[in-house]
Symmetry: C2
Subunit: 372 residues, 2 copies
């Protein structure tokens, strides 16, 4: 048995959606699931207890950031990331690949790995499949992501092909490096840009390595949403039915529903927490910009149908005051609301799958609630 | 019966310390008490539930800040400050006097009140005894502070005399304005700088107004601590035994103990929350600068003898990481610790009074624990 496996409870008859339970060394998580992002070993502004109150069972943390500060060796010395940050739920760590490639001129790609300059102090750094995996072993995350290249959008067929083939070669090195497979599960990442033949090639190559889970990378990178859905339409069916499927970097409500309907089990995105800190609330009635003057004398909650701590206790007027006055509590209350909103959305999606009404639920969300 | 009164449980035989219960419309508070500061309608970074977990029953909020933003009328519309910020404990509001006088060149003092420019937008504003009291009536605080002038240190005898006499005239206008004495208690403020004759004059003048409580203002404004203690030595005995006594702006551990021994019941200060956000922890062993490299590999709590949420769950190394990475959770954890430390200190002081060992407790703190 691998460290992580998916128990499929039900497969939808009219869509590719699946209802399941993701078993990890740090708890069992209902899927489809949205994972809040805790970049620097903390989901920004909130405590582990608050993550639990929101009912999130798995979070994502970033190898790139923790590698640079405070350093994975220090976290290992602390007993691993779970203990360091006092979180006993599951953790997925990305590989740092996405961040390193985002550095543009500040990085040089070689077959051995990527040389880059730290965004913190400009120091020269190096990440490779081996190092990214060793860092994640030191962090002790439940799910270890392969060190891949996320090709930009748009990019040529040749660039996407070279990139995915290097990603496959790097994946093999990640797999060879990870010796802790009893407690950590390595997920491979399908790349290939927006090219169907390349997605097929990438999927075929990485599935051959028989990994405990597979991610779809290189989406939500600036392409139109319809194009993302098209790629999912032909990519997801290539993946093994019994393994968890993770769509990286997606967190808008409409894309979560569309992704689930195409067979995705896991999602993550900084969107809900980032826009929260900018004063924008996510609700089933669409986004609400709490900073705006319209909320100044609104003594009702952000969303009267929401059960989060924020909506149970505070008015839009008070939250707006906190945001305008640059008070940290405003960031916290907004973050709690947005994360709870997404957890509730995923719960409703799971219930809809269970009750054979996912397409109708989607229709209700899209037309009645105005997501798009 | 006034809105607020002090029940004296015990008077120390060897010092002027008193053990009591402060009865307010929003709960009964054990005295001597330290009041955390919530300047803008929030104790920076933490929730009302966290204030309760720290076991603080009364907080201070600032008239000047709330008057300018979001405005007292809006808070009144929300149902008052307690409801606006979701805090059902007691609230003391200052009068805005201290902030207005701190503006220096940006304000003009007249007999009618003070004209000043807002620190937010430079707009022309006016506060007077009547307006400051009306603002506090709109806020609905349990304890309303008189609009006074806090004379600078050092200042001449003439300046201090003129200032205290205006403070007395203004106090009468505050008293005439406050019509909500069944739910709000007006505290007068003894001024007079560092001059004993002026402190006597000020105390005599304000006691004549028979108010439910008295504060000692104009201390902790830059003078040596010994001078502050000297002023307390001759000022506190001038105040009526049965009324609560509040020393404004004092929150260092040594000054809290010295103040209690001189007969003070209530204290407030931004110090514990401000230095928390700068990465400095208060402990019974002295200050600990968590930002420093010495904490980098320290996997123990800030203080192993502390029972706060932070010390029960997080290491110095993790908190240091959060502070260095500019993560909000670091500010929260530090704030919770420093406030809980002061609440525990006050609890120990109360127990020492109860058990007739306050001078010994002071000695233990000062010599064993190294406060000064």
């Amino acid at each position: 048995m691998t460290a992580v496996h998916l128990e499929i409870l039900k497969e939808d008859t009219r869509t590719r959606a699946r209802l399941g339970k993701l078993h990890t060394p740090h708890g069992v998580i209902d899927t489809p699931v949205f994972m809040p992002v805790g970049t620097q070993g903390t989901v920004k502004t909130i405590t582990p207890e608050e993550i639990k109150e929101i009912e999130a069972g798995i979070i994502l943390s970033n190898t790139y950031h923790l590698f640079l500060r405070p350093g994975h060796e220090l976290i290992k010395e602390a007993g691993g990331l779970h203990r360091f940050m006092n979180w006993d739920g599951a953790i997925l760590t990305d590989s740092g690949g996405f961040q390193v490639f985002s550095l543009g001129d500040l990085r040089t790609i070689k077959e051995s790995g990527v040389e880059f300059r730290s965004h913190l102090d400009g120091s020269s750094q190096f990440l490779s499949p081996e190092i990214a995996t060793q860092v994640q072993m030191a962090l002790g995350s439940d799910i270890v992501m392969a060190f891949d290249e996320c090709a930009p959008y748009p990019c040529t067929h040749k660039y996407a092909k070279d990139s995915l083939e290097r990603t496959t070669r790097w994946l093999k090195r990640c797999k060879e490096t990870l010796t802790t497979t009893d407690t950590q599960a390595l997920f491979g990442i399908v790349q290939g840009g927006m090219y169907e033949d390349l997605r097929r090639q990438s999927a075929a190559e990485i599935i051959e390595l028989d990994l405990p889970g597979y991610a779809i990378g290189g989406l939500s990178v600036g392409e139109p949403k319809d194009l993302m859905y098209e790629v999912l339409d032909y990519t997801v069916p290539l993946l093994p039915r019994e393994k968890p499927r993770y769509l990286m970097g997606v967190g808008s409500p409409d894309a979560l529903i569309e992704g689930v309907m195409r067979g995705v089990d896991m999602f993550d995105c900084v969107l809900p927490t980032r826009i929260a800190r900018n004063g924008t609330a996510m609700t089933r009635y669409g986004k609400v910009i709490i900073r705006n003057a319209g909320s100044a004398h609104d003594f009702g909650p952000i969303d009267p149908t929401c059960d989060c701590y924020t909506c149970r206790n505070y008015s839009r007027a008070y939250i707006r005051h906190l945001i305008k006055a640059e008070e940290v509590l405003g960031l916290r209350l907004m973050t709690i609301h947005n994360l709870r909103y997404l957890q509730n959305l995923m719960k409703e999606i799971r219930e809809a799958i269970k009750e054979d009404r996912l397409p109708e639920y989607r229709q209700k969300c899209f037309s009645d609630y105005g997501y798009i």
